[in-house]
Symmetry: C2
Subunit: 438 residues, 2 copies
């Protein structure tokens, strides 16, 4: 299923909000185009979007973090090399094919960079390549080179909306967030809908700022902020081969302070991370899971992820069914795997603010059941129903509400804490992923 199957509706008042969010920082131009091609691996036509992000002047102040998947795609391999370059001037992004372990993948990525560089007056090594989509397929390099001039002609200074739409795959709607810092801004766009987990998701994020922040500060800030935002979400426990977060500074506006910059970056990245979960494939509930009282942060975050990823709990949440026993099962599984012996009589849990577990046992009755079910229902993005043709197309309004399922687990075993964002597991997820490529 590609983005062409999906639609989002946007009220007029929200169009104004989106336009405000997506206003470009100084010193950048972006453009997008689409092309049709027939993948070498299957005999069916396919469509691809390409996006160019271009700096007015190449910059030394850039940062990027990439997937920790041990089998990364060609654009990630090339992107890591680019971190050593003195300056970069552009990013070229495509969806539909991820360029991962396809024959000649690195060469294909470099040829695209060279093509873009030729049009933009850069060297190939000043261009960062970025791809998302099917793994194992080859990029249609000739067709993409042919489409590059169109993308360059579309370059504009006004809005990131088209770029945010151009990098979508199964995303339901574009994700754009901004922060104002002093006289400048940080604006980010994100693609990400499935294969989303810890060590950066199948997630492409481009953060543009006109604030003048030197390279070492940018890199430190991005690593720190990514840890508490993009690395604290999980839609399906999958870590993509292609995750990339790129941060580019045009340096056009004086930055008031490093702390204010980091605060703004946290704001943008935190919002984008939540947008990515809320727009996850088939996601109908976002779950905000707070773990406190853990012996250390590794355990807090690990247990949070384990519970957030437990498929039985995810299914129960999808059905607005407060089957809270599955929380204990998932937490116990994680602790058992780690060989950690915690005292269950010290553990307490709350769902939607309602106490559900304390002193080593559950406190459940018909009234609490009703309240817990109501809490799950209020966080639902849209109700699910089985369509006649078997393919779920959520009737989603944009922007979606920001309500969450609130789950709190206190382990009573120490001072550490972590917050993790997860999601339910729905028919829509299965439908999207049982035949993604068709």
């Amino acid at each position: 299923m590609t983005s062409t199957n999906l639609t989002f509706t946007c009220q007029d008042e929200h169009r104004a909000w989106l336009a405000t969010q997506a206003a470009m920082p100084l010193g950048f131009r972006v453009g997008a185009t689409r092309l049709s091609f027939v993948p070498a691996e299957v005999a069916r036509p396919a469509a691809m979007s390409m996006v160019l992000i271009v700096l007015d002047r190449p910059t030394a102040d850039f940062a990027a973090v990439f997937t920790r998947n041990a089998f990364p795609g060609a654009p990630v391999l090339v992107g890591r090399q680019r971190l050593d370059e003195e300056t970069v001037g552009a990013v070229v992004v495509n969806n539909k094919i991820a360029n991962v372990f396809a024959p000649g993948g690195v060469d294909a990525a470099e040829r695209l960079c060279a093509g873009a560089a030729g049009i933009l007056g850069l060297t190939a090594r000043q261009v960062i390549p970025s791809s998302t989509g099917v793994i194992g397929w080859q990029l249609p390099v000739a067709a993409m080179l042919g489409a590059l001039p169109e993308a360059a002609q579309a370059l504009g200074r006004t809005t990131l909306v088209e770029a945010a739409q151009g990098i979508m795959t199964t995303d339901l709607y574009p994700k754009v967030r901004r922060a104002t810092v002093g006289g400048g801004s940080i604006v980010g766009i994100a693609k990400g809908a499935g294969m989303i987990e810890p060590n950066l998701a199948t997630m492409l994020v481009y953060l543009l700022t006109d604030l003048a922040v030197p390279r070492p500060t940018l890199r430190k800030a991005l690593a720190e902020v990514a840890r508490a935002t993009f690395n604290a979400i999980s839609i399906d426990s999958e870590t993509s081969t292609s995750d990339s977060v790129v941060l580019l500074s045009s340096g056009r506006v004086a930055c008031p302070s490093e702390a204010e910059f980091v605060g703004g970056l946290e704001h943008v990245c935190g919002d984008l991370a939540e947008d990515v979960v809320r727009n996850g494939e088939g996601v109908r509930h976002v779950v905000r899971l707070s773990v406190t009282g853990a012996p250390d942060e590794l355990t807090a975050r690990g247990l949070g992820k384990a519970v957030a990823n437990a498929p039985l709990l995810k299914c129960a949440i999808a059905g607005n069914d407060p089957n809270v026993g599955r929380v204990v099962a998932a937490a116990g599984r994680y602790l058992g795997t780690r060989g950690l012996a915690l005292d269950p009589t010290k553990v307490s849990m709350r769902l939607g603010g309602h106490p559900i577990f304390a002193h080593g046992c559950f406190a459940l009755d018909a009234e609490s059941e009703r309240q817990l079910a109501a809490h799950l229902a209020q966080a639902e993005l849209y109700p699910s129903s089985a369509p006649a043709e078997g393919v779920f197309r959520p009737p989603i309004a944009y922007p979606p509400h920001e309500r969450c399922v609130q789950l709190e687990i206190d382990l009573g075993a120490g001072p550490a804490s972590a917050t993790v964002l997860g999601a339910d597991l729905t028919h829509e997820y299965v439908s999207e992923n049982a035949d993604y490529r068709s």
Copy 2:
């Protein structure tokens, strides 16, 4: 969803096969009964099955392994204590409520043991309790004590079929397997359909043998065999709070040799483990995943489990969609999480015997796509379709075919190997688990 919603059809020739499988070893009696009750936590009536397994004479020769979940249920806590008893004489099993972290759970389990002991002329400490079902709810002890005499009256020496049916929850069909060793036999029954993973599944298994094998040998054999059978399967990566495998010897028949006994036990446990996966909640494809060329067994098994549990791959298999890029993504995710740097150019993969990955890249074309899709389709248990009322009820024939999706991964990095059994992720899994308790 309870077992009352589900049916299985059994051809006449298979009834004969089932009866042969389920013939009782010497020295045991089993009986089952059903009761109705209203759980304290919800205002809806529910049904429960109880099963009694009774030895003619209490035996010192028994073994059990339990879940490694750090938050085990009350029956597991009690069962672990029973391992220190000189003899046991009976097992009392119920479905519908797992008795995990309900108020007074251990006391409830002990009262049931005492009730069964009173009827059977045993002490409470000679009875092993076992429960499966909803976590957090309280056992209806009074109603269960009232039903025990019926279960005792139903005790018979002929067949384990009723017991295998009595321990079912969302299982589609009873699971019974046997091995003949010398003049005796080992016969096992299993319950298990969801919450199935590594460290024993939401799985209850009772293995009865009339072969005379002393306690130390029994315990060593069970631990070893469970590792390569029950601990090598995963339906959904969940480890239950209640997993229990109990092995009882009546000692009525001389055992030819320890090796033959272990061989028979492996046979029964291996078959039951595969039965559990094939009958997993919503499972339409069983995946047999062989990892070879690993640096050590931990890596081989861990990578196998990680790939078997990758939701995107599981969804693709459900849709007969050979999206093999997801295999590489899942393997790379596991290696990345472990911090293991493997050379992808040494890795090779085959699906259904067809080479799909070698020398660091995929080899895919329209013809291989067709062959891979056909391999997935031949392993399908039944085709899925979205029913009007939204609840999937698979029209499953019993016994099901034994074909698998065959996935081979050679890491080219060492001598170790492991085989893991996994399953797809289907609409039926979501349907069953989005409202299990209703």
